[in-house]
């Protein structure tokens, strides 16, 4: 053996040993780190499952107490507990690795339970009693919660053994996972979730809204196309089909230069429901006020009479304008149309008339019962009132209310306070939040 051969062998050995050792160390470290992450994830899942079970157990016990209580103060306490527990349960569920279709009935149940209890709580606060019908609902909610409780407690027992959630989860595209199947017992056909009808958040009655703003008279596709061409002269218009969603509409694609827009015209009455595109705005040359006027004029061309800009904010080269009808000096907020105007050339680049189509109607009762002085009494004394107007505002979920709108300044912040013009009660307070992207009403 010559010297070179020996050197080569030694070098080869050194390299081989080095590589093997290095791979071993890095594999070990990665495996360790992965194992640590996996454990951490397992604990997050398990914690959420345990908390969810706790929350459902407590909801069940609060519902059972609510079922037999007769005192409104005690009832209010249980209702408040349920609302808080349901919100927390909702957060727990959202963290668990379950496919949506396996758990959506349960999420709906928890959301509606919380919405229903919130409405009952508000009714009690107004001095009303829980009706017999509502008591029946509470009883059936209690039954459902017992079934959920039973299933979840079975699951926590399973997880407290050496069952690993992480090991039993897999990509839903590759079939249903074991962990997913554990939730089969929560399906609607087993638990029997009640259908809840109430005027509050997540209610089924709120999701199925009726269209008040459009008559039964329908236009055909040709008429719709002609209208779009008339409203948007200078654009190439192409019909792209029909949609049968909340509204039945004819859809159009509009092109001007290299900008593309998308318009929808309702079959009933043929109004422009929506217009929107990805306009790239340049240097601003129009003021916010000019853009407000442009929006108002455009609404008139579309055949909307008496719409006025009641609010606007400028952001990133666009002015967002809210238009509402003003009837007998009353602002009709539920019929609001939102318009987006490009500040570089004053073109309309967005239009949204969904609220108008849902809510527009001739209001008959526009006169307040109490006068402005009386209404002002419900404001705190340190409110500096700048303007007062009459306004119809939408209620949180169903219906609308005639109010006095007081624009006030307090400690440098601007508020809009709405006072019921029939009863003098405060109905809503909005605050203007200044952000980098213009003003927000919250």
């Amino acid at each position: 053996m010559n010297k070179w051969a020996i050197t080569a062998i030694v070098l080869g050995c050194v390299l081989a040993v080095g590589t093997i050792t290095w791979t071993g160390i890095s594999w070990g470290t990665t495996a360790n780190t992965l194992g640590m992450y996996k454990n951490q994830l397992e604990y997050v899942y398990e914690r959420n499952l345990y908390e969810l079970t706790d929350n459902i157990n407590n909801i069940e016990s609060n519902l059972s107490k609510l079922k037999i209580s007769t005192d409104s103060q005690v009832q209010e306490k249980y209702l408040a507990n349920i609302v808080a527990l349901a919100n927390s349960a909702q957060n727990n569920i959202a963290t668990l690795p379950i496919e949506h279709n396996a758990i959506n009935d349960t999420i709906t149940f928890i959301n509606q339970l919380s919405g229903f209890c919130l409405v009952l709580q508000q009714d009690l606060a107004k001095g009303e009693d829980i009706s017999l019908d509502d008591m029946d609902q509470i009883a059936s909610l209690h039954t459902s919660s017992q079934n959920i409780k039973y299933e979840l407690n079975r699951l926590t027992v399973l997880v407290s053994t050496d069952y690993s959630i992480v090991d039993n989860v897999k990509d839903p595209n590759k079939g249903s996972s074991n962990f997913n199947n554990e939730f089969n017992g929560l399906n609607n056909d087993i638990v029997e979730y009640p259908q809840l009808i109430y005027d509050g958040p997540f209610s089924d009655s709120v999701t199925n809204k009726t269209i008040k703003g459009l008559s039964e008279k329908e236009i055909n596709s040709e008429e719709a196309l002609n209208r779009v061409k008339k409203w948007f002269s200078g654009y190439e218009v192409e019909a792209t089909g029909e949609t049968n969603g909340e509204f039945e509409t004819f859809n159009f694609k509009l092109t001007k230069g290299n900008q593309e827009y998308y318009a929808q015209v309702t079959k009933r009455d043929g109004i422009l429901l929506q217009f929107n595109g990805g306009y790239e705005t340049g240097e601003s040359s129009k003021t916010e006020d000019e853009c407000r006027t442009i929006a108002e004029t455009f609404a008139t061309t579309l055949g909307f009479e008496d719409l006025h800009a009641v609010w606007s904010t400028a952001s990133q080269g666009f002015v967002y304008v809210n238009l509402t009808p003003i009837v007998n000096d009353v602002i009709i907020y539920p019929d609001m149309i939102k318009v987006k105007v490009a500040q570089d050339n004053g073109e309309i680049v967005g239009w949204e008339a969904r609220s108008w189509a849902f809510n527009h109607t001739t209001r008959t009762d526009l006169s307040p019962t109490i006068d402005e002085v009386k209404a002002r009494q419900s404001l705190t004394s340190d409110m500096d009132v700048r303007t007062t107007k009459l306004a119809i505002i939408p209620n949180d979920y169903v219906g609308e209310t005639l109010t006095y709108e007081f624009m006030c300044i307090n400690e440098g912040a601007t508020y809009y306070v709405y006072v019921n013009a029939k009863t003098g009660e405060q109905v809503n307070i909005l605050k203007i939040i200044e952000t980098d992207d213009g003003n927000l009403l919250m």
Partner: protein
């Protein structure tokens, strides 16, 4: 001969040791800067940014320490005067804009996350197709069958492919931001859809049972 072998082995051990030490070094846990909010309403990091910018432009001579003291305040006032702003020494949205920085505000976190999800899910789609993704997310927030926040909906396990594969962490472009803003302003090209899928790649039989409202680009939107 033997000494040579020993030397070689010694070298080999040294090599392994160096590699191992280097490796452990790489695996040191990351350290995160904690943000402290001070009375100005700015975080320490934001104050440092203000100080750095003012220092670069010669308005400020003090340390970039994240402390909003008299020196910093005076520098801000000096800057405001020179730029036709209200010289109150407070970094509000207008002063921040003139400084070329952004103050995180209440709703811009939602906006950012929405823009990220739109970008990751639909950057190849038309503008309307991008607004549509934003609208579906916001429709889910309103729906009873989904979590009730933008975060909750986007991070719901298995809800979005881009969250599962990490593409959500890509930085969104201006188009995605505009689409997110339009969606937040209430534009909904999907008319209340809460699901969407690519019919060419969707494998879940359940999703096909939903009623399709509209097709935009590659996606079917369904309720």
């Amino acid at each position: 001969m033997k000494t040579k072998m020993i030397k070689a082995l010694g070298l080999c051990l040294c090599f392994i040791t160096i590699v191992a030490v280097g490796f452990v070094g790489v695996y040191n846990p990351e350290t995160y800067e904690t943000e402290q909010v001070v009375a100005t309403g700015l975080t320490t990091t934001q104050i440092k940014t203000v100080q750095q910018k003012l220092k670069n432009w010669g308005y400020y001579t003090g340390n970039v320490d994240g402390i909003y003291g008299t020196k910093t305040r005076n520098a801000v006032i000096y800057f405001q005067k020179n730029n036709g702003l209200v010289a109150d020494g407070i970094v509000g949205s207008k002063t921040a804009a003139a400084l070329g920085m952004s103050l995180s505000s209440q709703s811009s976190n939602d906006l950012y996350l929405l823009a990220k999800c739109i970008y990751a899910e639909a950057r190849g789609e038309s503008y309307v197709g991008q607004v549509a993704i934003g609208a579906v997310i916001l429709n889910r927030v309103k729906s009873s069958a989904f979590p009730n926040t933008v975060y909750g909906v986007i991070y719901q396990p298995w809800a979005f492919t881009c969250v599962s594969d990490g593409q959500i962490n890509l930085e969104p472009n201006q188009t995605a931001y505009n689409a997110a803003r339009d969606a937040l302003n209430g534009w909904d090209p999907t008319y209340g859809a809460i699901y969407y899928y690519n019919p060419a790649t969707a494998t879940s039989s359940w999703i096909w049972s939903r009623k399709v409202v509209v097709t935009i680009g590659k996606h079917n939107f369904a309720v």
